[in-house]
């Protein structure tokens, strides 16, 4: 089962923010979207989730998402936006329960608490959401998203996590924790599509990488294929050097090379 886009394009007024994107994300894998600021990563996710009007089609588990009802889609995929502002002082556990409302209610009363425990926020269940720090709030929102699609496969059909920079405001330990949650979800048969900023985390956790640049797809493939000096330097417009530690040749890591240091 897959999440596929066919020739996705998005315009903001006259500005074409995204064009010609054909993404093929497979269930069971973590698919990362990378690219410089403003390259259209959030815009692509917005088109996939139906938040933004767009050209082209989005096919989720074999069905065009256009024309599906919000609650049908909510049962198949959960979305973590880059930032969420919450009105009214809901408690943390109540926020997570909001995520669970989509068709998964019956007999799963303990899922929100489990989801909170999964992101290490169980002790905060009764705190007011607005009182949390940025990173804590982000993890609670991830718990909300997890609670919505708690089992990665439901009746033989994979469910999807669509995440926009899920580790943006997290410390290194929680970055790893969140990426492990995403990878475990995929290993259990679900699908994950995530916008990433950190190329090294991407190399560590992604099975496929789509590189966007200026709203256009630049490369799509495994981290091995895509994370190369040439592609990354072209995408980000600066000299980047990809190294491979001898003991883990399958794991590229990316070093920025300042012009003076490399003599370029």
């Amino acid at each position: 089962m897959r999440l596929e886009t066919e020739d996705i394009g998005v315009r903001y007024g006259r500005h074409e923010a995204l064009g010609g994107v054909n993404l093929r994300a497979r269930a069971g894998e973590v698919t990362a979207i990378v690219g410089p600021n403003g390259s259209g990563k959030s815009t692509l996710l917005g088109a996939i989730t139906g938040t933004l009007p767009h050209a082209g089609r989005v096919i989720l588990n074999g069905r065009d998402v256009a024309g599906q009802k919000p609650w049908e889609l909510a049962a198949q995929r959960a979305v973590l936006p880059q930032a969420t502002r919450l009105a009214f002082p809901f408690e943390v556990l109540e926020v997570v329960r909001l995520g669970q409302q989509a068709g998964t209610a019956g007999g799963r009363a303990n899922v929100p608490m489990q989801a909170l425990a999964r992101v290490g926020m169980a002790h905060y269940a009764e705190r007011i959401f607005q009182d949390l720090s940025g990173g804590e709030a982000q993890r609670v929102m991830l718990a909300r998203v997890l609670a919505q699609v708690w089992s990665p496969v439901e009746a033989g059909v994979p469910r999807w996590l669509l995440l926009d920079e899920p580790v943006a405001s997290l410390d290194i330990a929680h970055q790893l924790q969140v990426m492990e949650i995403a990878r475990d979800f995929a290993r259990a048969g679900g699908g994950v599509v995530t916008v990433m900023h950190d190329l090294n985390l991407t190399a560590l956790f992604a099975d496929r990488v789509l590189v966007l640049s200026g709203g256009r797809p630049l490369a799509f493939g495994t981290p091995q294929e895509v994370l190369t000096d040439d592609t990354l330097s072209r995408a980000y417009g600066c000299t980047l050097k990809v190294s491979r530690p001898p003991e883990r040749a399958d794991m590229p890591y990316v070093l920025p090379h300042h012009g003076q240091l490399t003599g370029a």
Binding site: T51, A74, P81, P89, H123, A125
Partner: protein
């Protein structure tokens, strides 16, 4: 650390508290109703009448009139108006994602008032068959359309891409209220003597004109819009996360917004049509309930109906007895009690406006 673990192992559930509060508020409302029937200008008390009834004695003509034609319709109107005002406040706050959005504050009440005045002053120009069909419902319906138009306009102006700007909402509300007030003023100049008497009576913000006819005129609109608001709980909870995320968790956002706007307009329109401008119920009641049992709209909306009705009945009792045998317009009582509470809300949470 041990204490933390202990707390989280048995989460104190605000939802359970809200449920308990629901039954408590139902009891409070029953009590307020009894008090309202007990007290009044005439020397007739509910307890005395109950005693007579139990003893099998017939009621005097005067007692019947006071109970059935004066106090009961007034009580029914108080319950309807109080419930409608509180529910429309809570629903509007959910729709605009802000606890300061109250129909009375942001000009929707004034818009509904303009509709009502239009119907009173220009209603005579309508073809007879229209007034025949509409009958007593003409003024509430016109108030509903006035409230609807102003809610739509306000939402268009203050909301972009699923985000509400509080400052824009409040300022647009001031402009809207001023415009509706000015247009209402023009209409008042055009009114003849009889219409002027109707208008003055209506504009006082009072339940004094209560009658079964008025109750029946407003009841359908109140029942429909409060009923619609009560099913909005899940949708408004979702909207608290923003429109995009609400859609992602499975809420039909467009439908939720449509129903919310209709419910706000209907409840505000009905309340304004029968009782003029009664302020602060719509903002104080939901705020107190959020403090007591959290912002979950699934309990907030029904609890607001109960507490709003209770408070309005109590305010009406105060309005009737405080300068007896004369009586104060109830709008004065709710303003004297509600305005300080509103200021207290602002003092405690300045952040509400500095968004």
């Amino acid at each position: 650390m041990a204490a933390l673990t202990e707390i989280s192992s048995r989460p104190r559930d605000r939802h359970a508290r809200a449920r308990a509060l629901h039954w408590a508020l139902a009891g409070v409302l029953a009590l307020c109703c009894a008090v309202s029937l007990q007290i009044g200008a005439a020397e007739v008390t509910l307890t005395a009448l109950l005693g007579k009834w139990l003893a099998g004695e017939p009621l005097t003509m005067m007692e019947r009139v006071v109970l059935f034609d004066i106090r009961l319709p007034r009580l029914a109107m108080g319950v309807m108006v109080g419930g409608a005002l509180a529910v429309s406040g809570a629903a509007m706050q959910g729709l605009f994602r802000n606890p300061l959005a109250d129909p009375g504050i942001v000009g929707v009440g004034a818009g509904a008032g303009l509709g009502a005045i239009l119907a009173i002053v220009l209603g005579t120009l309508l073809p007879v068959w229209v007034t025949d069909i509409a009958g007593n419902h003409l003024v509430p319906l016109a108030a509903f359309f006035g409230g609807w138009g102003s809610t739509l306009l306000l939402y268009r102006v203050s909301t972009r891409g699923g985000r509400t700007s509080v400052a824009t909402m409040l300022l647009a509300g001031i402009a809207l209220g001023a415009l509706a007030g000015a247009l209402s003023g023009i209409l008042v100049y055009m009114a003849d003597d009889q219409q002027l008497r109707d208008l003055t009576f209506w504009g006082l913000g009072s339940l004094a004109g209560a009658s079964w006819a008025k109750v029946l005129a407003a009841a359908p609109l109140v029942v429909l819009s409060v009923g619609a608001a009560l099913v909005l709980g899940r949708g408004l909870n979702g909207l608290a996360l923003g429109e995009a995320t609400a859609a992602h968790i499975g809420i039909d956002v467009q439908r939720t917004k449509l129903v919310a706007i209709l419910a706000v307009a209907g409840a505000t329109g009905a309340a304004v049509a029968v009782s003029g401008g009664i302020g602060f119920i719509g903002i104080v009641v939901p705020h107190l309930l959020r403090l007591a049992s959290g912002p979950d709209h699934r309990m907030l909306l029904p609890n607001a109906a109960l507490l709003g009705a209770s408070l309005l009945i109590l305010a009406d009792v105060i309005a009737r007895v405080i300068i007896a045998p004369a009586e104060l317009p109830i709008g004065i009582v709710t303003a004297v009690l509600g305005a300080p509470v509103f200021l207290w809300i602002l003092l405690r949470r300045r952040g509400l406006v500095d968004l």
